[in-house]
Subunit: 247 residues, 2 copies
Amino acid sequence: MTATIQTISPSCSDCPIRHRAVCARCEMDELERLEEIKYYRSFEAGQTIIWSGDKMDFVGSVVSGIATLTQTMEDGRTQMVGLLLPSDFVGRPGREGAAYDVVATTDILMCCFRKKPFEKLMSETPHIAHRLLEMTLDELDAAREWMLVLGRKTAREKIASLLSIIARRDASLTGDGGVRPMVFDLPLTREAMADYLGLTLETVSRQISALKKDGVIHLEGKRHVTVPDMGRLMEEAGDDSDGGVFA
Amino acid sequence: MTATIQTISPSCSDCPIRHRAVCARCEMDELERLEEIKYYRSFEAGQTIIWSGDKMDFVGSVVSGIATLTQTMEDGRTQMVGLLLPSDFVGRPGREGAAYDVVATTDILMCCFRKKPFEKLMSETPHIAHRLLEMTLDELDAAREWMLVLGRKTAREKIASLLSIIARRDASLTGDGGVRPMVFDLPLTREAMADYLGLTLETVSRQISALKKDGVIHLEGKRHVTVPDMGRLMEEAGDDSDGGVFA
DNA sequence: CGGAATGTTGAGAGTTGTCAAACAGCGTGG
DNA sequence: CCACGCTGTTTGACAACTCTCAACATTCCG
């Protein structure tokens, strides 16, 4: 149950998220200063990395693995408000407490910085602040996109939206061009998908079965998904699909 | 239908949003540089300020009035993803196109900057970039809070949540301490509330009537609201209310 | 005064949630 | 090796909430 703290720090230049994380824009000298204050922590699947309301004394980047941001009401209803993939940033410079629970969905490795030194470094190195603003704007866009899904889409459209987002993100990580049949693994349980989509897990299960029956997706086991026609999936998601893929 | 462009620029130091907007942290010399490139535009209620997908060539702050950020699906379903009040920032430095429609809900006055000069200024004055990051983080928090409302709350809780947010924001503007009976005007039509909450306007109307019948709120006309007991309203919203008010 | 926009209320339908049962996969231990 | 129990998933029946369609009331403004 304890997080492992690794004192050995692989070099930033070898880091798999070097070009996408908060440090993406750093020059060599800035990287060196970051390197001085960074440390790695790993968490096991299921572990809570940060509790909502707790004082945050570190910020950091996801190096590998997946985590979720969730909010919970007093009676237990929970809503996922973010999905953290490699290179995503955790923590909010300038804020005292954490606003959400951060939970490791898979085993996860994080590159951490103590908050105070990071804030100081940030105020001195515009490249970090600038990249963080850019990433925060991206997250805001993603959150607003998700508001449309939560507020206006049907259960079937919600599932299709989630699948198409995961498919696209997977493609961007593996460098896949988005060619015809896309294949990926669902990183979330039915319950986690339900929390993401504002549904119950039963409805998630039913809609996945329905999409499978209608040939929009193929399933191998519970988690391995094949999408024969991305355009079809995006239609099901209610997204403006037309443009792009076959052009 | 045309936006008025005012060439006369009142001084920044007299500006009502001086201490809350993106310029809040600026020193006098930075303010002067902003002053050089700023101009005012006013829009009438109902006018679209920015169309989703359009090239954005300016950014700016709401000085007075209210605007909304909305997304629309092909079949017309729309979801509001942001409510812009005085001091809120419009536009995304570093991005080409607008991601959402921005529509004036009331007559509105905006303090605008052409995008390129603003971006240049931003890269040279850390106080602006820093404040913008801070504001963007606040917006992200608000968006995520809203995801919980959209995904997990009942219609009644959604209405109560919206009312309590408007009440609190109104109180923070007027400097009201949040004392017992709170009074405010709804800045939105039933339809706009529905688009905000992911409901139909009929459901909005019914739930407002229900809250009124149950004495949670009092109505004078359609828009003027009195909340005799904020704690009660927050309970109805499903929020952790206990702490605070009566302590 | 009349017409358009906004808001309220009712009846019935449909989607999604709730409760319940059963199945599948998987690691543990007898 | 197989029984067992755990977690995750599927499926069914029914209920509940919200939407849809429709009529009517109210307010705003020309």
